[in-house]
C-alpha cells in the first residue's frame, strides 16, 4: 500500500519537475535582453558585432530555442548545470556556496517564524473576537501590509545606524580578511536579516493558524471535551492545537522551499551573499545559465518539500492516507 502510494507520488513529482524546468527554461530565454549586449554597453558605448556573434556561438545562443532546450535537458540529466556568464565559474558550486549563506538566515527565521506564527495564531484563534485577538490580529495586519524591504531598511536605520547595535550590511566584518571567519561575528551580522525574515514569516503563519484554530474550536469534539469538564488549558493543548496544526504543516514545508523568493529583498538590502542576492544579480545581468540553475534548485526543493508533506500527512492524519489510497 505504502509502496504504491510513494511510487505514485514520485511519478507525479517527476512530471512536475519536468514541466517546471521546461516552463522556467522558456520564460528565462524569452526574457528581453541579453548578457553580452548589456555587458559591452556597461564598458563603453561600443557593440562590436563580431564579439557578440562569438559569444552567441560559444554558448549556443545562436541555435534555435528548441535545440537549446534539448541541450539543456541533456545537460541536466548529465548533472551539468552550466557555466555562469557573469562570474566565469560553474553554476552548481556557485549556487551551493550561496545556498549555505541563505540557509544561515532562512532556517532560523523559518523555524522561529513558524513557531511564533503558530503560537500567536493559536492564541488569537482560541481567544477569537476578544480584545487580545484584535490586538494580535491588527498588529499582524500592520506587519504583513508593510513590505519586507521597508522593515529591512527600518531595522538597518534604527538598530544599525541610530543605535549602532548591529552592522549595517554584509555577513561578516572586515576582520575576516585578517583573522578569518568568526562564527560570533557572522551571527551578529545575521541577527537583523533573521529578525526581518522572522517577522514576515510569522505573520503568514499567524493567519493560517488563527483561521484553523477558529474552525477547530467550533468542532463537536471540543464541545464534547468541555461538557466532559476538561479545563481550557487541556482542551487547547491536547485537542484543539493538534488538529489546528495540520494546515500549518503544509505551509511550513512550502516555506522551507522558498529559498529564492523568501529572501530576495532581505538579502539585497542587507548585502547578504545568498541565493536571493545571486538571483537579483543574475536577473540584472541576464546570466541565463545561472538563472536556470537557481530555478532548477528551487524547483527541486519545492518538489521535495511537497513530497515530504505528502508523505507526512498520512502519518499525522490517517484519514488523509486512506482517502488517497481508496
Amino acid at each position: 500500500m505504502w509502496g504504491s502510494y510513494l511510487s505514485r507520488r514520485l511519478i507525479y513529482s517527476g512530471f512536475a519537475f519536468f514541466i517546471s524546468i521546461s516552463i522556467s527554461f522558456f520564460i528565462i530565454h524569452l526574457m528581453p535582453g541579453d548578457y553580452i549586449t548589456n555587458y559591452l554597453l556597461s564598458l563603453g558605448n561600443v557593440l562590436p558585432q563580431e564579439t557578440i556573434d562569438q559569444f552567441y556561438r560559444e554558448f549556443g545562443l545562436n541555435l534555435p530555442l528548441s535545440d537549446q532546450y534539448c541541450i539543456y535537458i541533456q545537460n541536466i540529466l548529465r548533472g551539468e548545470w552550466g557555466y555562469s556568464y557573469q562570474y566565469s565559474v560553474q553554476v552548481l558550486p556557485l549556487i551551493l556556496d550561496k545556498l549555505f549563506w541563505t540557509l544561515i538566515i532562512l532556517v532560523p527565521a523559518t523555524g522561529m517564524g513558524i513557531c511564533f506564527g503558530m503560537i500567536l495564531g493559536a492564541y488569537s484563534g482560541w481567544k477569537a473576537r476578544t480584545t487580545q485577538d484584535l490586538a494580535c490580529f491588527n498588529m499582524m495586519i500592520i506587519i504583513r501590509a508593510i513590505p519586507s524591504y521597508w522593515w529591512a531598511i527600518m531595522t538597518i536605520t534604527i538598530f544599525g545606524y541610530s543605535l549602532k547595535l548591529f552592522p549595517i550590511s554584509g555577513y561578516t566584518s572586515i576582520s575576516i580578511l585578517y583573522s578569518g571567519i568568526n562564527i560570533g561575528d557572522v551571527m551578529h551580522h545575521a541577527i537583523l536579516p533573521i529578525a526581518v525574515l522572522t517577522l514576515t514569516i510569522t505573520a503568514g503563519n499567524y493567519y493560517l493558524m488563527r483561521n484553523s484554530m477558529i474552525s477547530v474550536i467550533g468542532e463537536d469534539y471540543i464541545t464534547t471535551a468541555r461538557t466532559k469538564g476538561l479545563d481550557e488549558h487541556s482542551i487547547l493543548w491536547r485537542h484543539a492545537l493538534k488538529n489546528a496544526s495540520l494546515p500549518v504543516i503544509t505551509m511550513a514545508t512550502l516555506q522551507c522551499a522558498s529559498i529564492v523568493t523568501g529572501s530576495i529583498f532581505v538579502e539585497t538590502i542587507f548585502s547578504w551573499p545568498g541565493i536571493g542576492l545571486l538571483t537579483t544579480e543574475a536577473l540584472k545581468a541576464r546570466d541565463l545559465p545561472l538563472l536556470e540553475g537557481i530555478f532548477l534548485l528551487d524547483t527541486l526543493v519545492v518538489i521535495l518539500a511537497n513530497l515530504t508533506a505528502d508523505t507526512l500527512y498520512p502519518l499525522i492524519d490517517p484519514r488523509v492516507g486512506k482517502g488517497v489510497d481508496e
Binding site: D34, L41, L43, A135, M139, G160, I168, S169
Partner: protein
C-alpha cells in the same frame, strides 16, 4: 512565567501592545539621533593594518575583482588597482603614462610605437618587457576572449627590443590610444603566467599577478583586499591597502559612510550630497560635467524623419527649466554634446542655434505642414495627429530622463504634440526600442565626447553599420574617416568644425545639458580625495596612491 500562563492571565495583550509602542517609537525617533555622536571608524574595532586601508563600497558582487581578467573588465587600466595598461587618459583629456613612458605615431596614423618603462616588474619580481604586450594582444585574439575586441583595430604587434612595442593598425586611427586607455581600455597581462593556461575561458586566477601599485592580498565573499606594492616603480602609496566591500544599495552605503564603516561613496544624488554637506567628518566633492544629455531623433520614423520637423523641435527645449529641475546641470547650446571637455574642438559658429523659442517652433512646424487644429491638436501633412513615442532607459534611466521628459511634455502639449513613453530596464531592449520610437534621451559620459573622433557616433562605417539616430550622411561619413587619418591637431579641429556644421544642418540630435556628479568621503580618515576631479573612478590608482592617512598629513 511561561507562555501558557501568560495566555491565561491575559498579559500577552499588554506585552504585544508594549512591543508595538516600542517599534512605533523607534520608527518615529530614528531620525532624531545626536548628529555629534562619535562614529566608530573601521580602525577602531578591527586589527592594526586596517588603520591605513581605504574601504570602498561596490554595488554588485561582479564589481569585486573577477577571477578572470581576460573576459571581464576588472583588468582594464582606469581603476585597475592590480593591472596596468600602456597609458591612461584623465578627465582633462591628457594621456598619462602607464607601462609606456612615451609613444609616437607614423604620419599615416597606422603605426603606433610605445616605449616601455625600464624598471617595471610584475608582482612576482619578473621584469615587464615588450613580449608581455605582444602576448596580451595575441593571447586575447587567438583565444577569442571577450576583451579582445578592444584590440580589434590591430593587425599585428612587433617588438624591436625588450622595451619597444609597435602596433600596426588595420586602418589609420589618429586617436587610437583612446582605445587602449578608456571605455574600457585594456591592461597588459603576464606572459610568463598566462601562457601556461590551458583553457583561458574557464581559468580561475588566484594570484592576480599585475604591475600596479597594489597587489592582491586576500579575497573573501563580499570582500577583496589589495595591499601596497612596496616595489612599485612609481609614486609610493601612503596607504597600506584598499578593501572593496560589497554593499548593494546606496542607502546602506550612505549609512555605512556616516558610521565610518567605509571611506567614500560615489555618484550620489544632488539631494543626498546636500544632506551630507553638514554631516560631521564628511566631505562632498563635485565632479564637474561628467554626463551630457541629449534629445536624439530616430531618423527612420515619421515625423522625426523630416528635417523640418527636427529643426522645429530643436526650439522646444527649455534648458533653463530642465537644469533647475535636475539641480546639478548646466545648459548646452552647442552641437558638441560636452563643450566643457571638448574645448577648442567646439565650432563657435554652431553655438546657440537650438534656442528655446516656441513661437519659432510653431512657425517652422506650420511651414513644414504641421498645423494645430481647433482643439489644439497638431496635425501633420497627412492630417493625422502627431503622437511621438519616446522610450526611456539606458544610461540616462536613473530618473533624469523622466525629469527631462516632464519638463518637455508641457511645452510639447502647448504645440499640440502628444508624447507616449515606455520605460525599459534592460539596456539591450532599450536600444531596440529606440529604432521603433521617434525620440530618445541619452546620457553620455564626458570621456566619450572630448574629441572630433567621438562624433563617429553619428557616422555609418564598415565597423558601424548603423548608429542610434539612423543618421546616414555620406559627406559626414567621409569626414569621420578623414579625421581618423589626420594626426595634426589643427587639421583635425577644422574637420571637426565641418562635421558639426553638418550636424547643425541635419539635427540628428539636440544637446540639452551637462550634469555634475558628487562623491562623499570621510574627512577624518584620509586626505587627497580632491584629486577625483581629474579622474573618472574612485578606484583610480592615481587617486588612491595620492591619499594620505589623516594622522600623517
Amino acid at each position: 512565567m511561561n507562555i501558557s500562563e501568560l495566555f491565561y492571565k491575559h498579559h500577552l495583550n499588554a506585552l504585544i501592545l508594549f512591543l508595538t509602542y516600542i517599534i512605533i517609537a523607534l520608527c518615529l525617533f530614528s531620525g532624531c539621533v545626536d548628529e555629534k555622536t562619535p562614529v566608530q571608524s573601521p580602525a577602531q574595532n578591527i586589527t592594526e593594518p586596517l588603520k591605513t586601508d581605504v574601504v570602498i563600497p561596490v554595488n554588485s558582487p561582479s564589481d569585486l575583482v573577477s577571477s578572470n581578467v581576460m573576459t571581464k573588465k576588472n583588468g582594464v587600466p582606469a581603476g585597475g588597482l592590480i593591472y596596468e595598461g600602456l597609458l591612461t587618459k584623465n578627465r582633462n583629456g591628457v594621456y598619462e603614462p602607464g607601462l609606456a613612458e612615451s609613444w609616437d605615431v607614423s604620419d599615416d596614423a597606422k603605426t603606433w610605437t610605445f616605449h616601455l618603462v625600464h624598471n617595471a616588474t610584475w608582482h612576482d619580481g619578473v621584469p615587464v618587457t615588450s613580449a608581455d604586450v605582444k602576448f596580451t594582444n595575441d593571447f586575447l585574439k587567438s583565444n577569442n576572449l571577450t576583451m579582445g575586441f578592444v584590440l580589434s583595430d590591430v593587425s599585428s604587434v612587433t617588438c624591436p627590443d625588450d622595451y619597444t612595442v609597435v602596433f600596426n593598425l588595420k586602418n589609420a586611427y589618429s586617436v587610437w590610444p583612446d582605445r587602449l586607455a578608456q571605455s574600457p581600455g585594456i591592461g597588459v597581462y603576464p606572459k610568463h603566467i598566462f601562457e601556461k593556461i590551458q583553457d583561458p575561458k574557464t581559468y580561475k586566477d588566484t594570484q592576480f599577478i599585475g604591475t600596479g601599485p597594489f597587489k592582491f592580498d586576500k579575497s573573501e565573499s563580499g570582500y577583496f583586499r589589495v595591499s601596497k606594492n612596496d616595489k612599485y616603480r612609481g609614486e609610493d602609496p601612503k596607504i597600506s591597502g584598499v578593501i572593496l566591500k560589497l554593499i548593494t544599495n546606496q542607502d546602506s552605503q550612505i549609512l555605512a559612510l556616516k558610521n565610518g564603516e567605509i571611506d567614500i561613496v560615489s555618484d550620489i544624488t544632488p539631494a543626498v550630497a546636500d544632506s551630507l554637506r553638514n554631516e560631521p567628518n564628511i566631505g562632498v566633492i563635485t565632479i564637474p560635467a561628467t554626463t551630457g544629455y541629449e534629445l536624439g531623433f530616430t531618423m527612420i520614423q515619421y515625423p522625426t524623419n523630416l528635417s523640418s520637423f527636427r529643426h522645429a523641435m530643436s526650439h522646444t527645449i527649455d534648458r533653463d527649466t530642465i537644469c533647475t529641475v535636475l539641480g546639478n546641470a548646466r545648459p548646452t547650446n552647442t552641437t558638441f554634446l560636452m563643450p566643457e571637455v571638448a574645448g577648442a574642438y567646439v565650432n563657435p559658429n554652431d553655438t546657440g542655434m537650438y534656442d528655446y523659442n516656441l513661437s519659432k517652433a510653431r512657425e517652422e512646424l506650420k511651414q513644414a505642414g504641421f498645423i494645430q487644429d481647433g482643439q489644439g491638436i497638431l496635425r501633420g501633412p497627412d492630417g493625422n495627429p502627431v503622437e511621438l513615442f519616446l522610450p526611456i532607459g539606458g544610461k540616462a534611466s536613473t530618473g533624469v530622463s523622466e525629469k527631462i521628459v516632464t519638463a518637455l511634455r508641457n511645452d510639447w502639449a502647448t504645440l499640440g504634440i502628444q508624447i507616449k513613453t515606455t520605460k525599459y530596464d534592460d539596456e539591450s531592449q532599450y536600444r531596440k526600442a529606440i529604432d521603433k520610437g521617434n525620440l530618445f534621451i541619452d546620457g553620455m559620459p564626458s570621456i566619450l565626447h572630448d574629441d572630433p573622433d567621438d562624433l563617429v557616433d553619428f557616422a555609418v562605417t564598415p565597423l558601424q553599420e548603423k548608429n542610434y539616430y539612423n543618421f546616414n550622411n555620406s559627406e559626414f561619413n567621409a569626414l569621420t574617416v578623414k579625421v581618423r587619418n589626420t594626426v595634426n591637431k589643427e587639421e583635425r579641429k577644422g574637420i571637426g568644425y565641418q562635421m558639426q556644421d553638418i550636424l547643425a544642418d541635419n539635427v540628428p540630435t539636440v544637446p540639452i545639458c551637462s550634469t555634475d556628479s558628487y562623491d562623499a568621503f570621510r574627512t577624518d580618515r584620509f586626505t587627497g580625495w580632491e584629486k577625483l576631479v581629474n579622474y573618472t573612478s574612485i578606484q583610480d590608482r592615481k587617486v588612491l596612491t595620492s591619499l594620505q592617512p589623516v594622522s600623517r598629513s
